[in-house]
C-alpha cells in the first residue's frame, strides 16, 4: 500500500514505520493478547476446579445449611393428674402466634397490624408492645394463642410482610378447673432471660415453649418437659417452606400423678366462697393430700398466656391476696385448735383426764387475770369438757403444771413448726415457741403467761393449714402420719405410734362431742346418717382488743376462723383443716368443713348445698373471678400500670407479703389474750349470705354423748 503522506510526516530517523512493520507489530501483539486471554481462560478453569473439587465439601455443607432449616418441635408437656387419673393440667391443641423481637423490622407497626388482623383489645396490644420492648431479642413474645384457623391462615399467608412473626400449630396448657388449682399447680410461661442463662437449652427460646413458673408445674419441670421433636424443612432464601424433609416426633413429658382428688379440690375451692382461706383434706390411712384449696386465686390459664397489666393490677390490689398460696404460705395463730394436742401432752405428762379444774371465767396468773372465753365460767371441767367446751381456764391451769416444754415438744410431734417433705416450691413452717426459742429470738426469759397464751394457740404460736391438717390426722390415728402429694411416694409414718389407743379414743370422743355433743360446733354435724365428724374449733385474735372486737369493723382486723376435723370419728378415714382469714371466728370455718366432708361421703348432697350458696354469691369462683375482671377492666381500662416484667418479681412480692402477714400477731404476743367466744351460734359467716342448706342439718343428728346438749346458741 502506498502511503502518500509518509514523507510529510514527522521525521523519525531512528525508525521508519511502514505498513509491513505495523502488520508484524499487529501479529506480535495479537499473539500477546491471545496469550493473555488464554491465561485468563486457564486461570478461570483452575479457579473453577478449585471451587468445585478442592472446596466442594465446604460449599456443599454451606449449600445444605442454606437449604435446610431445622426447627425444634416443643414437646407436649406431661399432664398433671389427680388420684383417679383425671387431668388437673392438660394440653390443648391450638394455633398460636409469637414474635421474635430481634427479627422484627418495625416492631410497633407489625404489632399494630397483627392486632388489627386478630382484632386484639387495645390493652392486649399495649401489653405486647411493653413485653417486646422489655424482652431480650431472642425471647419469643406471645401475641395470641387459641386462634381460630381463619386467623391463623390470614397471618400465615402474610408472612413475607411480617418478619419476626412466627405462627404455628402447637399446644397450650389447659387447666380444666382453672382458679381452683391455681396455687397448687402453678402455671407456665416463656422462660425468662435468667432461666435461659441458667439452662441454655435452645428449647427454652423456641417460640411457643413454656416452662413451669410456679407450684407443681415448676417443681416437676424436668419430669413434665419431655423430649423435643425436630422438623427439617427445605426453605427458600425468603424463608418460605418448600417441603418437609424429615420430622422426628416429640416425646411427651411424663405425667405427674398427684394424691389430690380433683373434684374435691374444686368443690372445696368453690365452697370457700366469698371468704379468703384454705381447705386441706388428708387421707388418714395413707397421708394422701386430697385437697389443698386456697382461695381467692388466679386463673392459671390466663397466667399461662402471659398475664396482662389489667389482670395483674386487679390481683395485686386485692387485699385478700389472690396471688398467695395460703395452704403453704399462710401462717395463722392456731387458736383453740391446739387444745386436743395440748390434751395429748397433758396425758403424756401423766395428768388424769378425769381430773377436774373449776372454771370461774378466768384465772389469775401472776398479777394478770386471764379470762376464759365464757365469762360466766364452765364450772367443774375435766379434759373432755375442756375440749368440747373449749374451756380456756382448764388449759391455763394444767399447762402451768407441766410447763411449756412438753407442750412444745408435742406440738412439733403433731407437725407444727415442721417442714414436710413435699414437692412444693416453698412452704412456711411457722413457730412453736419454747423458752429456748424465745431467748434466742427475743432475748427475753420465758414467762408463765407465755405458756398460758401458747396453750390456747395464741402468742407466738403460728402454723399453716397443712400443719393443722397433719395434726388432726396424727391425733385422730395416733400414728405419725406423713403427708404425701404424689402417688409414687410411699406412705410413711404408719409404723410410728405417737399415742396409746386409749388416749386417742378419749380425745376422739371429746372432739366428736365438739360437733355431735354439747360442743362448740353443733352446726358442723354431717347431714349423713352414721358418719359422725369430730373436730375442734379455733378463733384466732389478729389485733389488740383495743383496735377491734374481732367480729366487725375492717375486714383485716377480724379474727381468723379455724377448724380441724376428722371423720368418721371412731374410725378416722379423712382428716383436715379449714382456715378462714379474718372470718370473724370459727363459725366461718366449720360450715365449710362440714360441706366438704359431706361432699366426700355424698357428692350429691354436698353439691346441693353448694349450688344454693353459689346462687347467692353470684356464680362459681371462676365465674366471679371473670366477672370481677370484666368490671375492673371496664373501670380502670388502659390506665393501669404495667405488670412486673419477671415472674420472680410477683413471687418476691407475694413472699414478702406473706411473711409480713405472718408476723402480724407478734404485736399482741405479749398481751393478755381475751379468748373470743368459740362458737358462732348462728353459723353465719360474717358478710356471707345466709346459708339455706344449714338448718335441717342440725337437729336430726343424735348426740352420742349421754348428756343432752344444751342448744348450741348458748355457746357454752
Amino acid at each position: 500500500m502506498k502511503i502518500p503522506f509518509l514523507q510529510r510526516g514527522p521525521h523519525k530517523p531512528a525508525r521508519m514505520i511502514s505498513a509491513s512493520l505495523l502488520r508484524s507489530s499487529f501479529e506480535r501483539r495479537a499473539v500477546l493478547i491471545g496469550a493473555v486471554q488464554g491465561g485468563v481462560g486457564v486461570l478461570l478453569a483452575l479457579r473453577l476446579g478449585y471451587l468445585s473439587v478442592a472446596e466442594n465439601e465446604k460449599y456443599r455443607t454451606e449449600s445444605e445449611s442454606n437449604r435446610v432449616n431445622l426447627t425444634l418441635i416443643p414437646p407436649r408437656r406431661g399432664w398433671i393428674l389427680d388420684r383417679d387419673g383425671a387431668p388437673l393440667a392438660s394440653n390443648r391443641a391450638d394455633f398460636r402466634v409469637d414474635l421474635i423481637p430481634e427479627r422484627l423490622v418495625d416492631a410497633e407497626g407489625t404489632i399494630d397490624r397483627l392486632g388489627a388482623l386478630l382484632s386484639l383489645e387495645p390493652a392486649r396490644i399495649a401489653d405486647i408492645k411493653d413485653k417486646v420492648s422489655a424482652a431480650r431479642g431472642f425471647q419469643p413474645v406471645e401475641v395470641a394463642s387459641g386462634l381460630r384457623y381463619e386467623d391463623f391462615a390470614a397471618i400465615s399467608v402474610r408472612l413475607p410482610e411480617f418478619p419476626g412473626v412466627v405462627p404455628q400449630r402447637g399446644f397450650s396448657r389447659f387447666y380444666p378447673t382453672a382458679s381452683s388449682v391455681g396455687h397448687l399447680i402453678g402455671y407456665v410461661g416463656p422462660a425468662s432471660a435468667e432461666e435461659y442463662e441458667k439452662d441454655p437449652n435452645p428449647l427454652l427460646i423456641t417460640p411457643g415453649y413454656k416452662i413451669g413458673k410456679d407450684g407443681l408445674e415448676k417443681q416437676f419441670e424436668m419430669n413434665l418437659r419431655g423430649v423435643p421433636g425436630a422438623r427439617r424443612v427445605e426453605v427458600t432464601a425468603g424463608g418460605r417452606i418448600v417441603r418437609d424433609l424429615e420430622t422426628r416426633e416429640d416425646v411427651q413429658g411424663q405425667p405427674v400423678k398427684l394424691t389430690i382428688d380433683g373434684p374435691l379440690q374444686d368443690y372445696a375451692a368453690r365452697r370457700i366462697g366469698l371468704e379468703s382461706g384454705s381447705v386441706v383434706v388428708m387421707d388418714c390411712r395413707t397421708g394422701d393430700l386430697l385437697c389443698m384449696a386456697s382461695m381467692p386465686s388466679f386463673d392459671p390459664n390466663s397466667f399461662s398466656d402471659g398475664i396482662g397489666g389489667v389482670e395483674y393490677a386487679m390481683l395485686r390490689d386485692d387485699e385478700r391476696v389472690p396471688l398467695r398460696n395460703k395452704v403453704l404460705k399462710g401462717l395463722y395463730p392456731p387458736g383453740s385448735t391446739v387444745k386436743p394436742m395440748v390434751s395429748m401432752a397433758l396425758m403424756q405428762a401423766g395428768i388424769d383426764p378425769e381430773e377436774t379444774v373449776s372454771c370461774g371465767g378466768g384465772l389469775r396468773v401472776g398479777n394478770r387475770v386471764f379470762g376464759c372465753w365464757n365469762r360466766r365460767g364452765h364450772g367443774s371441767v375435766n379434759m373432755a369438757k375442756a375440749i368440747y367446751q373449749s374451756c380456756d381456764v382448764y388449759f391455763y391451769a394444767m399447762a402451768q403444771r407441766i410447763g411449756m416444754q412438753p407442750i412444745a415438744d408435742m406440738a412439733r410431734r403433731c407437725g407444727m413448726g415442721q417442714e414436710f417433705p413435699l414437692p412444693v416450691v416453698s412452704q412456711f413452717f411457722g413457730t412453736v415457741p419454747d423458752p429456748a426459742w424465745k431467748m434466742k429470738k427475743w432475748g427475753r426469759e420465758w414467762q408463765t403467761f407465755d405458756t398460758v397464751n401458747a396453750t390456747i394457740g395464741q402468742g407466738y404460736m403460728l402454723a399453716n393449714p397443712i400443719q393443722l391438717a397433719v395434726m388432726a390426722s396424727r391425733i385422730a390415728t395416733g400414728h405419725h402420719v406423713m403427708p404425701r402429694l404424689t402417688l409414687d411416694t410411699t406412705p410413711k409414718g404408719f409404723n410410728d405410734i405417737d399415742f396409746p389407743l386409749e388416749q386417742v379414743q378419749y380425745v376422739r370422743q371429746a372432739m366428736s362431742d365438739v360437733v355431735n355433743g354439747p360442743g362448740t360446733a353443733g352446726r358442723a354435724r354431717l347431714p349423713i346418717p352414721d358418719v359422725l365428724i369430730a373436730g375442734k374449733t379455733g378463733t384466732a385474735q389478729v389485733v389488740s382488743l383495743s383496735i377491734s372486737n374481732g367480729k366487725s369493723g375492717p375486714w383485716k382486723y377480724r379474727d381468723h376462723g379455724l377448724f380441724i376435723f376428722f371423720a368418721p370419728y371412731d374410725k378416722p378415714r379423712y382428716a383436715g383443716a379449714v382456715v378462714i382469714e379474718h372470718g370473724g371466728g370459727s363459725g366461718a370455718a366449720y360450715p365449710i368443713a362440714r360441706d366438704v366432708m359431706t361432699y366426700l361421703f355424698d357428692p350429691a348432697k354436698g353439691l346441693e348445698a353448694l349450688a344454693a350458696l353459689e346462687a347467692g354469691w353470684g356464680g362459681t369462683a371462676q365465674q366471679r373471678l371473670e366477672a370481677r375482671y370484666a368490671a375492673y377492666a371496664a373501670e380502670r381500662g388502659a390506665g393501669v400500670s404495667r405488670p412486673p416484667r419477671r415472674d420472680e418479681e410477683i413471687f418476691d412480692r407475694v413472699e414478702a407479703e406473706a411473711r409480713r402477714a405472718a408476723t402480724q400477731t407478734d404485736a399482741i404476743a405479749g398481751e393478755v389474750i381475751a379468748p373470743r367466744p368459740e362458737a358462732n351460734p348462728s353459723g353465719t359467716p360474717p358478710g356471707g349470705a345466709a346459708p339455706p342448706a344449714q338448718a335441717p342439718a342440725d337437729s336430726p343428728a343424735p348426740a352420742p354423748t349421754a348428756t343432752p346438749a344444751p342448744p348450741a346458741e348458748t355457746a357454752t
Binding site: 500500500m1 502511503i3 502518500p4 503522506f5 509518509l6 510526516g9 514527522p10 523519525k12 521508519m16 514505520i17 511502514s18 505498513a19 509491513s20 512493520l21 505495523l22 502488520r23 507489530s25 499487529f26 501479529e27 501483539r29 495479537a30 493478547i33 491471545g34 486471554q37 488464554g38 485468563v40 481462560g41 486461570l43 478461570l44 478453569a45 479457579r47 473453577l48 476446579g49 471451587l51 468445585s52 473439587v53 472446596e55 466442594n56 465446604k58 460449599y59 456443599r60 454451606e62 449449600s63 445444605e64 442454606n66 437449604r67 427445605e234 426453605v235 427458600t236 432464601a237 425468603g238 418448600v242
Partner: protein, 378 residues
Amino acid sequence: MSTIVQRSGIIPEPIARQPWEMLIPLVLLTSFGGLVLYSAGGGAMEPFALSHFIRFGVFAVMTAIIASLPRDAVRVLTYPAYLIVLLLLLAVEIVGQVGGGSQRWLEFGPIRIQPSELMKPAVVLAMARFYETLPAGMIGSWRSVLPAGMLIVLPIGLVLLQPDLGTSVAIAFGGVVVMFLAGLPMWWFLSAMGAGIAALPLVYFFALHDYQRARVTTFLDPESDPLGAGYHIAQSKIAIGSGGIFGKGFNNGTQSHLDYLPEPHTDFVFATMAEEWGLMGGLFVLAMYALILKWGWKVANQSHDRFCSLLAAGATATIFFYIAINLLMVMGMAPAKGIPLPWMSHGGSSMMTNMICIGLLMMVNRWNREAPRRGLTV
C-alpha cells in the same frame, strides 16, 4: 487458508463455506444456555428459556445480514453509524434529565434499545476505520492518538453519566485493544497503565458512587458484609463449589431454585449452570468460548487489510471482555457488576452486542474468503 470444508463435495458449497468451527460451539453454547435458563425458570420454558431462543433466532438473522454487507458500504457507513449511536447516547441522557432520574435505554414502541451496548461494536468499527486511514508514518505521533482518544472518550463520558461504569469500561477496553493492535508505541500503554494504577485511590475516593465503592470494598473483603453486597458473591461461590465435578443434576440446583443465588438467570447464570452441571459443565462452557475466540483471532490474522484485522480483533476482544469479567465475578475474583455472560445469560442487550460482534467477524471472514490475501499491498 480458506476453510477445509470447501473441498468436500458432499455438502453444498454455500453451507460448507460457513464458519462451522465457530457456529457449532455458538449454537451448542446457546442451547446449553437455554437449558440452564429452563432450570432457572423453575423447570419451564417460560419465562427465560423460550425468549432466549427467540432472541437468538432474531439476532441470528441480524448477524446474517451484517455478515453479508459489502466491504465498501461498511467503510462508508462506519462513521455515520458511530455518530448515530453517539446521538442516541446523548438522547438517553436528555430523556433521563427530562424524566428526572437516570436511565440507560430508549424506547421505540415495544423495542427498548440500550445505546451503550450498540456503542461497543460502534467504537471498534470507528477505531478500525480511523487507523486504516491513518498513514503508517503518523503512528507514534499525537495525531495517532488524539482523534482516536476522542472517539473513545466521548461515548465513555456519556455512559459514565448514566451512570454505568461496567459498560464504559467495556467500551474503553474494545477501543484500547484496537489502539494497541494498531501499533501505538508500547511505552505509551505501559506509562498509561502506571498512571492508572497511581490514580486508583483517587478514583476510588472521588469518582465512584457509594454503591460502586461498596462493591469494591466487598470484593476486597467479602466477610465485611456477608448479608449485603458480599452475599451475592458468597452465594455464587457456594453454588459453584457445591456442584462438585458432575453437579447436582439438571433441575436439581438448590441455590438457584430456592432463591439463594441472586439473579440466577442473568449475571449469575454460570453459577446456576455450575451447580447443576458441575466442573464438567463449566469446562464445556470454557471450551466453547475458547473455540469461538480462537476463531475470532484466526479471522483477524487472516484479514487482508488493516481495517479488517483491527475490526476482527476488536470484536473478539469485546466478546472476551464480557466473558472474562462475568466469570471472574461469579467465581469471586472481580467485584460484582452487572455484566452478563454472552449467549447464556437471559437478556436482549448483551445478546445483541455479541451477535453484532459475531456478525462483524463473519463479515470479515467472508471478505477474507472472497478476496484471498494478496501479499502485503492491500
